[in-house]
Symmetry: C2
Subunit: 410 residues, 2 copies
């Protein structure tokens, strides 16, 4: 039976759960020796570290409301089941980039997993201007493999359809539909603004018909295109890393959606990190631009390699005739071109909502000089406007990067 745990109840729970107890303690050791503390930085869930003399683990439990708001914002704890299923699916595909799962319980809406205590959150590290030599390589692998191997290009069509059904994730998709694709483009009470941001800039994109239509097109794609199992929330706060290792965490938003969403959300967070530098620290700015270019280029290259490599196995879409390989490559190149268009469109949506919606990025919102922050925000809004309205015209990531160099119309 489900109950919300606290430090004491966790001790009892571990004592009753041999799969967790044996991980941390010898049979003759008492659970009283465990050091349990709540990390307390989860927006949605309660997260504890549990340490024994020999090991430490993370216990994450969902409560039937949004933790950051409180019991007034009910949110079904079934979200933990999506997180568990997604972690398991991702772990099978890219084990080196997904934390170890030691134990999970759908009934208790909890998961016990690897404590990434030698790793830090990417967003914080980027704010500290730390460079990671393998990041683009790792994230492009995570994206290319999770998106390709969960799609109709690889899976048996029956298994793919069972997955779509399993991952119908109504509540968390609604959060995205509301907070990424709807409220930021309306005068909605949940939006939050830098007081120094001239609202004329907000009015400008909100009353731009081409922006509105484009955002609705991206929202409709999000709601209808069941291409692959997405992480669903792949911003720089969902990545923990050190110079050698990169882990992707928190996939409770997982569902079958358009591939460009995961890629676009991640690139948008890199783009906003670049804008937050505001022309300072040329070396770090060059590093971030390199991350943007390398992530897309490596992703496209690896995704294409997956497509071409497995084509012979013909799991779903058939090209088994003399010129088939050549034609399949044409198909693949056009598919990736469309995926790039989607990526640019979704990136722009993330840039808008991280500027005028409820949730900000610390890279920009953490800038104490509000005038400086506003100057950056205007550039972000103008770049997002350009990218989303002309998303079909961009054919390479280098072309997208030239937008970053465009000065504000101010």
């Amino acid at each position: 039976m489900y109950k919300i745990l606290n430090n004491d109840l966790i001790r009892d729970y571990i004592d009753e759960t041999p799969q967790i107890r044996s991980l941390l303690l010898d049979p003759d050791e008492s659970v009283d020796t465990l050091d349990i503390s709540e990390i307390g930085d989860g927006n949605l869930n309660f997260v504890y570290t549990i340490r024994s003399p020999r090991k430490s683990v993370i216990l994450k439990q969902a409560v039937p409301y949004l933790r950051v708001v409180g019991e007034d914002y009910p949110l079904s704890r079934v979200r933990m089941s999506f997180e568990i299923w997604a972690l398991e699916a991702e772990k099978a595909l890219v084990p080196e980039h997904v934390p170890e799962i030691y134990y999970s319980s759908h009934e208790m809406s909890l998961v016990v997993m690897q404590n990434l205590d030698r790793h830090k959150i990417l967003r914080g590290e980027m704010i500290q201007r730390v460079q990671f030599p393998h990041l683009a390589e790792h994230i492009s692998t995570f994206l290319a493999d999770t998106l390709y191997y969960t799609s109709d290009f690889y899976l048996d069509p029956a298994i793919k359809k069972e997955n779509v059904k399993k991952f119908i994730n109504i509540e968390l998709c609604k959060i995205t539909e509301d907070f990424i694709f709807t409220h930021p483009y309306e005068d909605n009470e949940t939006n939050a603004y830098n007081p120094a941001l001239d609202r004329e800039h907000v009015r400008k994109f909100r009353e731009n018909g081409e922006v509105k239509v484009a955002v609705q097109e991206m929202k409709y794609k999000f709601m209808t295109e069941a291409q692959a199992l997405l992480h669903g929330d792949l911003h720089t706060g969902s990545i923990m890393l050190n110079p050698e290792e990169t882990y992707v965490i928190d996939p409770e938003f997982a569902f079958y959606g358009p591939m460009g969403f995961d890629v676009g959300i991640y690139l948008a967070n890199l783009i906003m990190s670049w804008y937050s530098l505001d022309g300072e620290d040329e070396a770090y700015a060059a590093y971030v631009r390199g991350q943007i270019a390398d992530t897309w280029n490596l992703f496209a290259q690896k995704f294409k390699a997956n497509m071409m490599h497995h084509e012979k196995e013909r799991r779903s879409l058939q090209f088994d005739y003399p010129d088939g390989q050549k034609h399949f490559e044409m198909f693949t190149d056009r598919f990736i071109a469309q995926l790039f268009t989607d990526t640019v469109g979704f990136a722009a949506c993330e840039m808008f909502r991280r500027t005028v919606g409820l949730a900000k990025v610390a890279d920009v919102a953490g800038i104490e000089d509000l005038e400086k922050r506003a100057r950056i925000e205007v550039r972000v809004l103008e770049a997002a406007t350009e990218l989303i309205t002309h998303r079909r015209d961009y054919t390479s990531i280098d072309e997208v990067l030239t937008v970053l160099d465009t000065q504000s119309t101010e």
Copy 2:
């Protein structure tokens, strides 16, 4: 408990099932007075007419194999559940075009419904060159209302997602994926050819890279775009009508897919009916062309009216700001343009597969002069090649109709 019925068992079943018995008989009348006969023209299922002195009904039961092939081709009888759910969903939206459901049982995989004995199958009537004054009006309403009201444009996003889940229809989607989108483009043993058709014409489209890539793009759309609850098999054999009334039957292929699939399949069957006239009977040819044009134009007009009418209710996609209505109309027009492109692409896939795949259309395959039939088939294949490779260039149904006038390259 499920069991396969026959004439005698149906009598017992009715006797035990008050909902059916009371429909047909007074309490003191015996089930022995019922006249039960198998129609026997179902490809998938067993279909019986049951008559009492006062009423007649249809009883349709699914068996755990493909009826037309036999027990060697197993096909789960769960298909009847999809048919029942789809009939119920369609009946709620367009009651005047869906037969009355009197009784259904998922356990027995059967449905008891209105006997459309004053109606005939549209395909047979078209072969007899019968005109129906309200057909385009009726089918365009069926399409515009079933597609719009089951989509994210109307439904609450949570309900739409529950519907997507309910209508994951693995087995029947696989039939479409194989027999419409795969086998006809391969040298597959299930394909069947008019012996008089020069196979050079088959080779020509099969080795055309643009055709192959386009077919795979349409297949991928079919497999991934969960836009609306489709009928899934809307050819002219799925329509029963008389001059006043039009009914759409047999929706066991129902699933959430791309709207253009239903529209395209139907238009392709009209197009093939037109080709089957081979330049004869100018009056009927003009009627069929009128049906093609009117069905699309009325559909587009009614779908747009649904979009604009309900926009104020804002069930899912929001445009609630001063210029919102104008921008929503831009969005709607672009959406319908894309839907037209999809329609043309899916129509071409149906034209290919009805010519060289397993299942033919009697309009063309029933032509006894095999040379004449082959001449028509070549024109169908050439038109399908043109339509699918240039589908993005067609902006009106009149432009599509000009393709019909193009003479064969022979």
